[in-house]
């Protein structure tokens, strides 16, 4: 299945994805008309800054059914509400092992970037922040149901967000078992 792939090395931090996301989830679906809507349309994607990596990155959580990040989390820092399906993150239990990012296609490229740069000081903090914010708002990425291409992908001027079959992107095959993860 197609999913949103994030390519942090291309993100310029313009926040076009954020506005496009809010407009796509507004009543009118048009920028100029969405401005006056009450309640104001909510975005599901957040451009966060990673100072340690000197990059910005758009982050969005789909709160997947049977979220794989939750199942691989060794410390149960990530959990999923059985009723609402909302994934939440408990920073007190998180040990920054990044295992969750390895099973989430949206974070795999970032993880690879971190491997390449060799910067391990960056933490899950921003990721956690985004998940929490979305939990508060009760809104999540639905890949823009009813559109061929998610609005954020269409809006991204540098193609930092792409919408692909996972296997179309070299090196983005998701490890299927925990043993594969640990090699």
């Amino acid at each position: 299945m197609k999913d949103l792939i994030i390519r942090p090395e291309r993100c310029l931090g313009c926040r076009s994805c954020e506005i496009a996301c809010a407009v796509a989830h507004s009543k009118s679906k048009s920028l100029f008309s969405a401005l006056g809507e009450q309640p104001a349309p909510k975005k599901r994607i957040y451009v966060d800054c990673l100072p340690n990596l000197e990059i910005s990155i758009p982050i969005t959580c789909r709160h997947c059914e049977d979220a794989p990040c939750v199942s691989v989390c060794p410390t149960k820092a990530l959990s999923q509400d059985e009723v609402t399906g909302i994934v939440s993150h408990n920073p007190d239990h998180c040990v920054d092992c990044w295992t969750c990012s390895m099973v989430c296609p949206r974070f795999l490229p970032l993880y690879q970037l971190i491997l390449n740069i060799g910067c391990w000081t960056s933490s899950m903090a921003y990721n956690r922040g985004v998940i929490s914010r979305q939990t508060d708002a009760g809104v999540k990425c639905d890949l823009c149901q009813g559109r061929d291409i998610p609005a954020c992908v269409e809006a991204c001027p540098t193609h930092a967000l792409v919408f692909y079959e996972l296997e179309e992107i070299p090196g983005t095959k998701i490890p299927e078992t925990t043993s594969e993860l640990t090699g």
């Binding site: 313009c14 926040r15 076009s16 954020e18 506005i19 496009a20 809010a22 407009v23 920028l31 100029f32 969405a34 401005l35 104001a40 349309p41 909510k42 975005k43 269409e154 809006a155 001027p157």
Partner: protein, 643 residues
């Protein structure tokens, strides 16, 4: 079987191509060339527009600020993110500041054009620009008297010299207000004075805009916008008006004449030279040099049947108005003209010239010649133009074009058949002449309702609107409802291409307007000139208002810019509305990020200057808004207001 299927798929391919082409322009000549471009793999503005989509939302809303290097800052229009820039500027402040800078740029373009015209005028008066002369002595004398220059016992060059000095002073004026503002009706001038928006020096207003928008200066949206109105006025009743006046003295005040427009004016067997941009200073010389016997002989030697000059944009309008030189197209047809493969030289001066022309010309034999000391482009032949050697440079340019004729590749040539007649040259003076020397017949027609009102429709092309769709439909709708239309700029060219600038077009007008047009032998749409010539519309409005003893804002008049795109258009909008004319914009200006600025422009300005803006991309709805406004003004004047 397989081949058949191939053919079928090719058919559907070309059908899609055709459909795409029809979506871009309503003009058949442009469609023909757009199709040629597709087939030849040539990129145009429309293709580049598609690559820009979706356009940046912050930019569209005007909430991005780059005025200091703590930024760039932007405001989240949906209130989740930043509500203020680093300095604390709100969306209102940022939008207002950006708008003011846009107005300043537009006013600067018109006014700097005017300065060059005055400098040429000055050099001419001193005998340092031998190619130029005084063509309209009556206008020289009337302007001199307006500027308080005694003319008795002086030769006309001396008068011109003193007038030029007086005009130049208007740019750097440090005390008092611009003299042209005295042409406005008394109540209007009084209103401006009370509001403190009577423009002072032309350059001063623009400089002050840049100062006010510097980090940490003017941070009140209303206060900022008042300076926007004043700067606009320094353009309309300053720079633009001076440009029109001086160009009339130097090149003649336009009088009605016939000409032709659209890509079909390009010649199959003559050397085609296009003059494109905004100033008549060089193009006047080009038109003259095209009749030079030496060059005509050279053209013959090169196998050409002659030399054909055609205009694009307002340089084209200037020579069209004064000489009937044909026009090849509007702003969005500049690339299309080159793609015909029949243009030997694309000669440009300033404003609205796409830098894409450089690379594009390289795909054909066209020489892309840039002439302004201010405006260089990629891949051009630089032939800088200076007044002292004006005619010589013009001849050199034509020579280059003629020598390029043998390189025209007949296999690449496709000149569309469309070539439309038009009647042009309606300066304010010419309109009053057509009315028998007084505005009274028009006023009587307005009073009786035969002419329901006057619509001033102007402006550019914009890829966001199907080429000429906004222009032509809006104007047709107005004349159908007996609104006499005055037009300038690319709207005028679009209307000409659609056949609205011929007396016979009165058949498309309502009964009242049709009868008036037939009686006077004029079209229902009057071409008043280039974009600086919107000043002619201001003068005409003042004449009407004065005759009726009212303000411009009391007149049954409405304005529109259905396909506007340039910063100049924003400055025009500012001065037209400040002059009291309700104006409908066809594309959304980048202000919606601020509710305060939007409310001010579209509503509250009514209480300030007696007019405001509306935004309506649909030309039919835009016409309805204008008609509704005209109805209201008729009612207030005690005229029949029941259409």
């Amino acid at each position: 079987m397989e081949q058949k299927e191939n053919e079928k798929s090719m058919d559907s391919d070309s059908e899609t191509m055709l459909k795409k082409v029809y979506e871009k322009s309503i003009d058949p000549a442009s469609q023909t060339i757009l199709l040629k471009a597709k087939q030849e793999g040539i990129e145009t503005a429309w293709d580049r527009y598609e690559k820009q989509l979706p356009q940046c939302s912050f930019g569209q809303l005007g909430v991005c600020c780059r005025n200091c290097n703590m930024g760039p800052c932007r405001i989240d229009p949906f209130g989740e993110g930043a509500e203020k820039g680093i300095c604390g500027a709100t969306a209102d402040i940022i939008v207002a500041r950006n708008l003011l800078r846009t107005i300043a740029a537009g006013a600067a373009a018109h006014s700097d054009h005017a300065r060059d015209a005055v400098l040429t005028f000055k050099k001419m008066s001193e005998g340092a620009a031998g190619s130029y002369a005084i063509k309209d002595e009556a206008k020289l004398l009337s302007l001199a008297s307006e500027y308080g220059i005694p003319t008795e016992g002086k030769n006309r060059e001396k008068v011109a010299s003193e007038l030029a000095d007086a005009l130049l002073l208007e740019f750097g004026k440090q005390t008092g207000s611009l003299l042209c503002t005295m042409r406005a009706p008394e109540p209007r001038l009084k209103l401006w004075t009370e509001l403190g928006i009577v423009p002072r020096g032309i350059d001063r207003e623009i400089v002050e805009c840049m100062h006010r928008t510097h980090m940490g200066v003017d941070n009140n949206a209303t206060h900022i916008l008042l300076q926007g109105l004043r700067t606009g006025l320094s353009d309309g009743w300053g720079g633009s008006m001076i440009a029109t006046d001086v160009q009339d003295i130097l090149f003649g005040t336009p009088q009605p004449r016939m000409s032709t427009v659209n890509l079909g004016v390009l010649s199959r067997d003559k050397v085609n030279v296009i003059v494109h941009g905004h100033e008549p200073i060089l193009s006047e010389m080009i038109v003259e040099a095209a009749e030079d016997t030496e060059l005509l002989k050279l053209a013959q030697e090169k196998g050409a049947a002659g030399i054909n000059i055609a205009g694009i944009c307002c340089t084209g309008n200037e020579t069209l108005m004064r000489h009937g030189t044909p026009i090849a197209g509007t702003f969005l047809q500049q690339e299309l003209a080159v793609i015909t493969g029949a243009v030997e030289a694309m000669v440009v001066d300033v404003q609205c010239v796409m830098p894409s022309l450089g690379e594009l010309s390289g795909c054909y034999h066209t020489k892309f010649i840039s002439t302004s000391p201010k405006a260089d482009f990629p891949n051009t032949v630089r032939m800088e133009f200076h007044e002292e050697k004006a005619y010589e440079t013009a001849k050199e340019i034509i020579r280059l074009a003629v020598e390029n004729f043998p390189f025209r590749n007949p296999e690449k040539v496709n000149i569309p058949a469309e070539k439309q007649e038009c009647m042009v040259g309606f300066s304010a003076e010419a309109i009053l002449n057509a009315l028998g020397g007084s505005p009274d017949p028009l006023i009587e027609a307005i009073k009786s309702g035969a002419v329901w009102g006057v619509g001033a429709v102007v402006g550019c092309n914009n890829v966001k609107i199907k080429h000429n769709y906004g222009h032509v439909n809006l104007v047709k709708e107005l004349i159908k409802n007996n609104v006499l239309v005055v037009t300038t700029g690319c709207n005028a060219i679009a209307c000409a291409e659609a056949g609205l600038l011929v007396p016979e077009a009165s058949e498309l007008a309502g009964e009242g307007l049709k009868a008036v047009c037939k009686a006077l032998g004029i079209p229902p749409v009057l071409h008043m000139g280039s974009c600086v010539d919107i000043s002619r519309i201001l003068v005409l409005s003042s004449v009407l208002a004065n005759r009726l003893g009212v303000d411009i804002s009391d007149l049954p008049v409405a304005g529109a810019a259905p396909e506007w795109m340039s910063e100049k258009a924003v400055s025009i909008g500012a001065y037209v509305v400040s002059s009291g004319v309700f104006t409908v914009l066809g594309t959304v200006p980048p202000v919606l990020g601020s509710q305060a600025v939007t409310a001010l422009l579209t509503r509250d300005l009514n209480n300030v200057v007696g007019a405001s803006f509306a935004v309506e991309p649909d030309p039919f709805k835009a016409a309805a808004l204008m008609l509704e406004h005209i109805d209201g003004k008729r009612k207030s004047l005690g005229l029949n207001s029941d259409r």
